[in-house]
């Protein structure tokens, strides 16, 4: 039995979180969002990722506190940047689940429930899938350049950038052709409703996660400032 949380729950939560920055005038909202995201990561069994993000969250929070507490001159700008990153960690935790723990077909089938434009959902799903790929491609590109004795050099920024970006762009073009061919074979151009091997039905447990999030979020926004 598939007990995975519906991707729509995660998408919805990540749509809601930015609004917290507009209405939340207390730090408890950020802590609540972090705790909720941590529980989600643990629910998916992503303990290493949970630890990595927790360390980043604590480190950024502490740096921000220390910079402001000791009022070190000319560090206000950095403090603000650290706080923005600190606030961003819960979003990254949830986005990481969408990036790494849901397949493109699964996201595509889920987004189909929203009745969005089909071509747009296909494009969005592919883009979502390929962001981590490019991070890996950059490393491959760097080692390929190193093998050929070409190193990144700040003395020749244009040439270095050219060596770096040109293969990536032409690779994009090639990937698009291969992916389109594979997609057409799998019926990407079919206009009817797609069936899915994934269980994308809204379950009671999905409602539980969403309601828990909304209740906690609203409670903290309304009363967090009095804590």
């Amino acid at each position: 039995m598939n007990t995975k949380i519906n991707a729509l729950v995660l998408i919805f939560i990540n749509l809601i979180i930015p609004f917290s920055a507009m209405f939340a005038h207390n730090i408890f909202v950020t802590f609540f969002l972090f705790l909720f995201s941590a529980v989600l990561l643990l629910r998916f069994g992503k303990i290493r990722r949970f630890l990595k993000y927790s360390i980043a969250f604590l480190a950024l929070g502490m740096i921000y506190y220390l910079l402001l507490h000791f009022r070190i001159p000319h560090t206000d700008v950095f403090a603000m940047s650290f706080f923005i990153l600190f606030h961003f960690i819960p979003l990254m935790m949830i986005a990481s689940l969408l990036f790494y723990d849901y397949g493109p077909s699964e996201i595509l089938s889920t987004l189909q429930l929203l009745k969005l434009n089909r071509k747009f959902t296909i494009a969005l799903t592919i883009a979502l899938r390929y962001i981590p790929t490019f991070q890996a491609e950059f490393k491959i590109m760097k080692s390929s350049m190193a093998m050929r004795g070409i190193a990144f050099s700040w003395k020749r920024p244009l040439q270095s950038f050219s060596y770096f970006i040109t293969p990536q762009l032409f690779r994009c073009s090639l990937l698009a052709e291969e992916l389109t061919a594979a997609g057409i074979t799998k019926g990407i151009e079919y206009h009817g409703v797609r069936t899915s091997i994934y269980n994308i039905k809204w379950k009671k447990s999905d409602s539980f996660w969403l309601i828990s999030f909304l209740l906690g979020f609203i409670t903290i926004i309304l009363w967090g400032g009095h804590l």
């Binding site: 730090i27 296909i122 494009a123 970006i165 698009a176």
Partner: protein
Amino acid sequence: MKTLKIKDYVFLAIISALYMVIYFITAFSSSVLGPFGHNISPGVFGLVGGTIIYFVAKKLGKMWQFTLLTIIIMGLFTLMGGGYLPWWICSILTAFLADLIVSRSSDFTVWKLALAFAIMQVGQTGGSLIPVMFFVDSYRQEWISRGQSPEFMDASIAVSQGGYALLTILIVFTLSFIGIYLGHFILRKHFDNQNM
């Protein structure tokens, strides 16, 4: 006027992924300059990302290419929790304008593409300028409640208003304009070789 096909959607999607990775690198780099650095980050990206846009225009050259690219990118920002309405509106309107300027025909001049991209990036800048312009009091109060000093907040708000806002727009426009010429310089020989 050529219309977008499914392979163009796939192409733009993959390009958006590359765009996002480079956007994050440049945005993070420019954030060390503080609020002003954050404001001009679309321009810093424009300097680098102009090459991507040049490639898209050369490879596709179809109407709606930039509007669709922007919609995908804004969709990704929204999924990651970074999108909000004023930014969506500014970005899509200017991307549409860019398409009107340059995408109606596959034959384009570099200066027209540079102008179109510069306008697109100015639209992206709207995302950081609008909150400060229209929600200045709540924005200031918010950060003071988080421990920032009022003096610092006044200074950081100042770099998003009046003359500084104009300077931001000018810098973003110029850097993005140069970015396309940079892309032209880097990719020209590749497209000449392909006889495109």
